[in-house]
Amino acid sequence: MTALATIRDLTVTYRRDGSEVAALKSVSLDIAAGERLAIIGESGSGKSTLALAIAGLLPASARIGGRIDWFSHPPPRLGTKAPPSVLPDISPARGEIGSFADSSPSAPLAIGEGRDEGAISPLAGEMSGRTEGGAKDRQPKIVPLGGRDIGFVFQDPSASLDPVMTIGKQIAEVARTHLGLTWAQAYAKAKNLLERVRLPDPDSALRAFPHQLSGGQKQRVAIAAAIAAGPKLLIADEATSALDTIVQAEIVALIRHLVAEDGMTLLFISHDIALAAELAERIAVFRYGQLVELGTTAQIINASSQAYTRALLDAHIGLDTKPLLNRAELHA
Amino acid sequence: MSQPCRFLRTPEAVAGAILLAALIAMALSASLLFPGDPQAIAGPALLPPFQAWSLPLGTDRLGRDVLAELFHGARTSLAVGLAAAAAALVVGAVVGTLAGFAGGLVDEVLMRITDAFQTVPSFLLALAFVSVVGPSLGIVVIAIALGTWTGPARVARAEVLSIRERDYVAGARVIGMHPLAIAFREVLPNALPPVLAMSSVIVAAAILTEAALSFLGLGDPNRVTWGGMIAEGRTVLRTAPFLSIVPGIALVLTVLGVYLAGEGIVETTAVRRGLS
């Protein structure tokens, strides 16, 4: 397995009102390139914190220990084996796959270094991260940049879209920032992306404002913006939790489809283990900021070694007696 | 951390408190330190400051002791500021509670009246009122309150609108409390905090408005006012600009003190709503 990122002993502590809350405790995890990994946990398990830490979006008041190392890869060739999708490949036009940073050697990189012109909020400033293990490497680094390398989809699309900006612009600005396009080109790409996320009437959608769309439509827009610059990692943080069940299933299918098409690595955060099981190849179970169990979906679902995981699974048996997942569809 | 402790940890709040304390000290000690009529002639006219020990800030156009006037002026500013703000807050809270609680036609009428008061520039209204009735301390207080009660009224009404649907109000209704009693014994006390949060701004505005009225000659002629001092100094602006500048500095420091201390109090007493 070629690793996209390796996480070693990651510890994140928030400071609130003078007391410290440990959100993540010594988490070690590998993310394989091109895989679909689900992070499962209940509230307070630290799963969102993990997502934010990977994406470099933690607030400045968070203290970070451990390291996350990133590795570059040559772009996957088209036609490489993609998992058989349950949905037909409808989209005719394929967006360009963004350029990867394959020029530099696999240089491990510690968190805490950001680009100067990069998107650092005033809150972050310099993250007060401490890396264990001494000196940081000073080689040419691959710094995963939000938008270009990592696409992030948030839970509540009503809150994660700017209410006073057209959705066309909110997608186009990503393309423009990272791909160096003109506004006209960026808008064209935005329209193309809206088609890919199956939003009806992309032309008028470009000029629409978020409040004019439904929840599911807004989330499609958010996904379009997240993949606009062709990132190689897509993080979906509870991306379906705020949506109705039927819409949920559509969005999950959409994500699965896009990830396969563009050869992205998917990090799917959720509290819903059933949903994750449909989508992911590997599942990581978290509880109280610690990694409880990690394994392939089949292992976790069928032969979990942890009582907690089994408890989560049991809680999911609902009124329908159909099996939790279609095991025939699972691929090892 | 206790509230006084938190207040003391904010440098701005402490600075404000110091300024306010100085102002109050000035006002209270005015008669002590400068007995007699501050408007009496105390020395030669237009004596520059720092020339004579007995007249540390010099004298004005008519030979009055500037420092004495400054101290006595503090009384007027403080008295008018606090009284006008109190009046505005009380009237505003009452009107707002009535409107919010009664609803319907009463609400409509009261709100239109509030609109009318907000549409006329408050200073013009104060001007008209004082000129009609005649300048005296009490009239100035009423005139200022006339222009500023609308803010608290709206805030109070908004609070009451949200409070009146709550359980303890329904409970009071069930036991048969008279609506007015409910409005003023149950609802109003709970609607007060955001209204009181406005108090420092209102006091500050009242002090500034009083100064402006005095500057235009509409203050109480029997009292020393900082605005009046500035107006007097205007006639000799070229030769003794100091006479207009000093009272202005006193005003700035006073208002600044009110803002800082007020904001400090609001910050420390505010209920923390969730974590940022």
Binding site: I120, I150 | T119, L124, L127, A128, G134
Partner: protein
């Protein structure tokens, strides 16, 4: 477009009602004055009892309050504000003469305070808690504490008396025959200090509002999303944070107009600008109650019009206003 029109219609109806209250209220207030216009007139010009009665009758002051109120309202419908005692001219004419000067002063001061205030507020709000943020915060608070008329005097002392860069007062050089651009430049020079005095106070207000607004918007999810998208800091600050924080400021513009109109009374007085504010002071000094009533009415109308315009502008800036769900 229909959205704006329905808004307009509803507001106009409400405004007429409010204006009615203003008229009646102010009329009754001014009626409470001991003595009336005739008394004031007699004081300055002299006259005997017979003359007083004659004037009272001529000016309709011997009729009952209600009758006079009714007459006044009727006259208002014809845009007749009555006759000014001081100027012996129709009040409407006097007001219309002075109004442009005040408008010029107000618009310029608003442009200064809103423009510069928001810009500085954005500058401070771009980095909350930084040194420049705290500096501008304290600085603006101090500025907000300054009385406008005193600031005007200080500016006069510094710029007109000591440095002699700018004139002391008035709106243009008297008895000069300047026209066109020359005249405009002359007026601009004369208005520089009054605009500065009036504008700086409210500049502090907009600065603080923008700063506070931005601090709140920074906490919103869509700002985190913008960071996640890897947008440049500049774009996040301007296109997302400031753009959203701007909205409450626009609303404030409307509310401030009433205050600024009041502030212009003192500023025009300090700088001898022949505007509406100064006219009010003159009316008070000469107890010309009809004139004062007319000025108050005009101010109220102005405030209503400005608020209306501001609301329309706001509707353009915030797409959520009055919108109905068009999506499914």
């Amino acid at each position: 477009m229909t959205r704006a029109l329905t808004l307009l219609r509803r507001r106009l109806v409400g405004s007429v009602f409010v204006l009615l209250i203003v008229v009646v209220g102010t009329f009754l207030l001014l009626e409470a004055a001991p003595g009336d216009a005739v008394d004031a007139y007699i004081v300055s010009t002299g006259g005997d009892a017979g003359m007083i009665e004659l004037l009272r009758h001529r000016w309709g002051l011997d009729q009952s309050e209600l009758t006079r109120l009714a007459n006044y309202l009727w006259a208002l419908l014809h845009f007749d504000l009555g006759q000014s005692v001081t100027f012996s001219r129709p009040i409407r004419d006097v007001i219309l003469e002075r109004l442009p000067n005040t408008l010029l002063l107000m618009v310029s001061a608003t442009a200064l305070s809103f423009g510069l205030g928001s810009a500085l507020g954005i500058y401070a709000g771009a980095r909350p808690g930084s040194f420049r943020d705290r500096f501008l915060s304290i600085g603006s608070l101090a500025l907000y504490a300054v009385p406008g008329f005193w600031l005007g005097l200080v500016l006069i002392v510094v710029f007109a008396v000591d440095l002699r860069w700018l004139p002391i007062g008035g709106i243009e050089t008297l008895a000069s025959d300047k026209t066109g651009l020359d005249r405009a430049a002359d007026i601009a020079v004369h208005l520089a200090l009054p605009v500065a005095a009036l504008g700086f106070i409210y500049l502090a207000l907009y600065l603080r509002m923008m700063r506070a607004g931005m601090a709140e918007v920074w906490r919103e999810d869509f700002v985190l999303a913008a960071r996640a998208k890897g947008l440049s800091r500049r774009r996040i600050v301007l296109a997302h944070v400031a753009r959203n924080a701007l909205l409450p400021l626009v609303t404030m513009l409307g509310l401030q107009s009433a205050q600024m109109l009041g502030g212009s009374v003192v500023i025009e007085s300090v700088f001898s600008v022949p505007g509406l504010g100064r006219l009010a002071q003159e009316a008070v000094a000469s107890r010309d109650t009809p004139l004062l009533l007319g000025i108050i009415l005009t101010s109220a109308v102005l405030v209503i019009v400005i608020n209306l315009l501001v609301d329309i502008a706001y509707a353009f800036l915030d797409p959520r206003v009055g919108a109905s769900e068009t999506g499914t």
